[in-house]
């Protein structure tokens, strides 16, 4: 076989270029920390990385939604707790006005107490979080109960359908309750009307009316307790969800890292090998191109 000057040069150049390219690729991987620079580096891994980025983004969004819902539920839980306290106070006030031994002054004082409790319930039921009412159902921008001055409290103006927020792909949490379900349930009238009747009965010393009013408060107590139980369950779900989302995110980031990131041990080893190969190629080219028969002719 004839070994020609050009072939020798071409082989030398190709060898040097190949070694330099490998060295540069490992250097890029080590300096950027990324295994994939463009889709053609690994099309399948790029496809996987796009999927993982989407997964991570969705998890982050669900985590934000979970935090937001948790704050809202904490407010709702506080309101429901207050409702329970107020209903207990109402029971005590109504009971204190019962019996023929009570004076009118005592009954009036109890009635005034009950009016204050009713007003607190009114305020509680109109609680808003971030500009939306939590007891208006899906009509979250509509105040559920209104009154003009110290006039009668309006009927429920919210929506009977409730509003939920997704905290995962197939998991939703109620964030706006049907206030009517809490204040009225299956009763003929809502708790405010019941309070009005109860206050009138207390002033009039109508023990039967007081009993009926106290029963209505008890039924509402049960409804509020049920609602609070559901909120408590949702809060536990959220706590579990936070842990789950955190684990899912960690797993997704790990998968993404496996797809995209450089394996430093491998890359640094590869870089050292490529560096040695490049130096060897330089040495080989240098020694081969030095030799020629011309050098021996004198």
């Amino acid at each position: 076989m004839r070994l020609t000057f050009n072939a020798q040069n071409r082989n030398s150049t190709a060898g040097l270029e190949g070694a330099a390219t490998r060295l540069m690729e490992f250097q890029r991987q080590v300096s950027t920390g990324k295994r994939i620079e463009k889709p053609s580096d690994d099309p399948s891994a790029t496809l996987g990385a796009i999927g993982e980025h989407t997964e991570t983004a969705a998890i982050d969004q669900y985590a934000r939604a979970t935090d937001s819902v948790a704050s809202r539920l904490a407010v709702i839980d506080t309101v429901l707790s207050d409702l329970i306290v107020q209903l207990e106070r109402g029971q005590v006030a109504a009971a204190s006005a019962r019996g023929s031994t009570k004076t009118q002054a005592q009954r009036d004082a109890a009635a005034t107490d009950l009016e204050g409790i009713r007003d607190t319930l009114f305020s509680d039921m109109n609680t808003a979080f971030n500009g939306t009412f939590v007891f208006s159902g899906s009509a979250s921008t509509v105040q559920p109960y209104t009154r003009v001055g110290s006039g009668p409290i309006s009927a429920y103006a919210g929506s009977t359908s409730e509003m939920v927020v997704d905290i995962d792909q197939h998991r939703e949490i109620k964030i706006a309750f049907n206030g009517q379900l809490v204040t009225q349930g299956a009763d003929a009238q809502d708790v405010f009307a019941e309070f009005d009747d109860l206050i009138a009965a207390v002033r009039a010393g109508d023990d039967a009316g007081i009993e009926a009013g106290m029963s209505a408060l008890e039924r509402m107590f049960d409804r509020v307790s049920t609602a609070q139980g559901r909120v408590g369950a949702d809060q536990r779900t959220i706590d579990e969800q936070k842990v789950r989302l955190s684990e899912m995110r960690r797993a997704s980031v790990k998968r993404l890292s496996a797809l995209e990131d450089t394996n430093m041990a491998q890359a640094i080893t590869g870089m050292a090998q490529a560096d040695a190969a490049y130096k060897a190629a330089l040495g080989a080219v240098s020694s081969v191109t030095r030799m020629s028969l011309m050098d021996y002719l004198r």
Binding site: F5, N6, D42, L47, T54, Q61, N130, M163, S292
Partner: protein, 460 residues
């Protein structure tokens, strides 16, 4: 006497032949780096004696040949276009894949942020800030689609420009090759002066084969005839037939003698450029348009059924300007409905028939992130991922193919070098060989000269 003079003549002829050998060796060494230069070999032959009583009349140079293997050259002309086709594809796709952006930072990221905005709105359906965020992200998504469509269109335009430029290159090379054919025909093989012309021509033919797939036919006079495509004449003897570039359906087509031969040019740089411009990039554009169309239509269907903050309904979030037919051009025409963009309150968050303050539509649109809405099998981001995968795979295949073909070309080039290349060691040996032969013949000449002197001295 006459035989001594014949010996002197033979010695002079031999000196001339060995000097010629030195000349050729020097020429080979001088052109060791000249592209296309083929090693020259001289053929020497003994000059036969005039009669039985003489040994012979020395040596003469009967020919100078180029060490050329036409089969290897033909193989190169077949392999180079295939290698350059893949090279051109890899170059175009290398630009396209970079234009697609990195995972999470391109259309997929814009889609994620868009759905995040609707998810935020579902948590605070009365929030004007959340509505503005929806509009911002919808606009950003539309912008990203339009940018991507523009980048693909730019790649296609650049590629088209390269096709036109390749057409000009073909014409320049065609003209030069035809001119060399003319010179070769005029010079004639007998003159022995066409070897350098053939070397020059082989370089031009090689350059031409890098641009376009050619068929080369060796002419009897040493020149070449060249055709492209389905036997379209490019060079016949001293006639070069120029190709014409003309715009058809918005892109440059190549014509030969008035016939559109674009579809016949499948290899060489121009073949790769045409394939990328007419098949690959339009395929990516169609996929991008389809994705933009599906995003807009699916979001619009939910948004139009939903109820805005003003209680109104029936409004699309995305529009296409200019109007499109089917999905063609959707990615470059997508934008946010101007009426909605001007008033964030018109963004629909409430479900169909639901009161203002509801979040069902916002939830439904946010849930499109996970919906298998493309053909019932893929989400938007999966569809985007498939497009990126397709470009990456095409680019990788082209690069691998080019690498493989490059190896073949390198091997064939090495084979050609084995025949035609210059070996400095070999030339050094030849140098010594001809130098020694020259010295020996000079000594012979001196011996004959001395003998003649002796003979003439006897006459004094």
């Amino acid at each position: 006497m006459s035989s001594l003079f014949s010996s002197l003549t033979a010695a002079a002829r031999a000196l001339d032949a060995q000097r010629f050998g030195l000349d050729v060796t020097g020429q080979n060494i001088a052109n060791v780096n000249t592209p296309g230069y083929t090693r020259r070999v001289i053929d020497m032959a003994a000059v036969p004696p005039e009669s039985n009583r003489t040994a012979g009349r020395g040596v003469d140079v009967v020919a100078v040949r180029s060490a050329r293997d036409l089969l290897i050259e033909r193989r190169l002309q077949q392999e180079v276009p295939a290698e350059r086709r893949e090279g051109a594809l890899a170059d175009v796709l290398g630009v396209v894949e970079v234009a697609l952006g990195k995972p999470g930072e391109s259309i997929d990221g814009a889609l994620d942020r868009f759905f995040d905005a609707f998810s935020n709105l579902s948590q605070n359906p009365s929030s004007s800030v959340a509505r503005q965020e929806v509009l911002l992200q919808a606009d950003s998504l539309a912008d990203t689609f339009r940018d991507m469509a523009e980048r693909l269109a730019l790649s296609q335009r650049d590629t088209d420009g390269q096709v036109a430029s390749a057409g000009q290159d073909i014409n320049e090379l065609t003209t030069q090759i035809a001119k060399i054919n003319e010179t070769i025909a005029r010079t004639g093989e007998s003159a022995g002066g066409i070897l350098h012309l053939q070397d020059e021509q082989s370089v031009l033919v090689r350059q031409l084969s890098e641009i376009v797939d050619i068929d080369v036919l060796q002419r009897a006079d040493g020149g070449v005839d060249i055709t492209i495509g389905n036997g379209r004449a490019l060079v016949i003897g001293e006639n070069g037939y120029q190709v014409q570039t003309s715009v058809v359906a918005g892109v440059n087509h190549i014509f030969s003698a008035g016939v559109d031969v674009t579809s016949e040019l499948s290899a060489g740089k121009i073949g790769g450029l045409i394939y990328a411009r007419d098949v690959l990039v339009p395929g990516y554009q169609t996929a991008l348009d389809s994705l933009a169309y599906e995003v807009a239509n699916n979001v619009n269907a939910l948004h139009a059924a939903g109820v805005g903050g003003d209680g109104g309904t029936g409004r699309n979030l995305f529009t296409f300007t200019p109007a499109i037919v089917g999905s063609a051009g959707a990615a470059s025409a997508i934008g946010v409905n101007a009426a909605v963009a001007a008033d964030g309150n018109l963004v629909a968050a409430a479900g169909p028939g639901a009161p203002v303050g509801d979040n069902a539509t916002a939830r439904d649109i946010a849930a499109l992130r996970h919906g298998k809405v493309i053909g019932g099998t893929a989400t938007f981001n999966e569809t985007w991922g498939q497009l990126v995968y397709r470009v990456g795979r095409d680019s990788q295949t082209a690069a691998n193919e080019q690498h493989g073909r490059e190896e073949i070309v390198t091997q064939v080039d090495a084979l050609r070098d084995q025949v035609s290349g210059i070996s400095l060691d070999e030339e050094a040996v030849n140098l010594v060989k001809y130098q020694k032969a020259y010295e020996a013949n000079a000594r012979f000449f001196r011996a004959i000269d001395s003998t003649l002197d002796t003979l003439l001295g006897m006459l004094r």
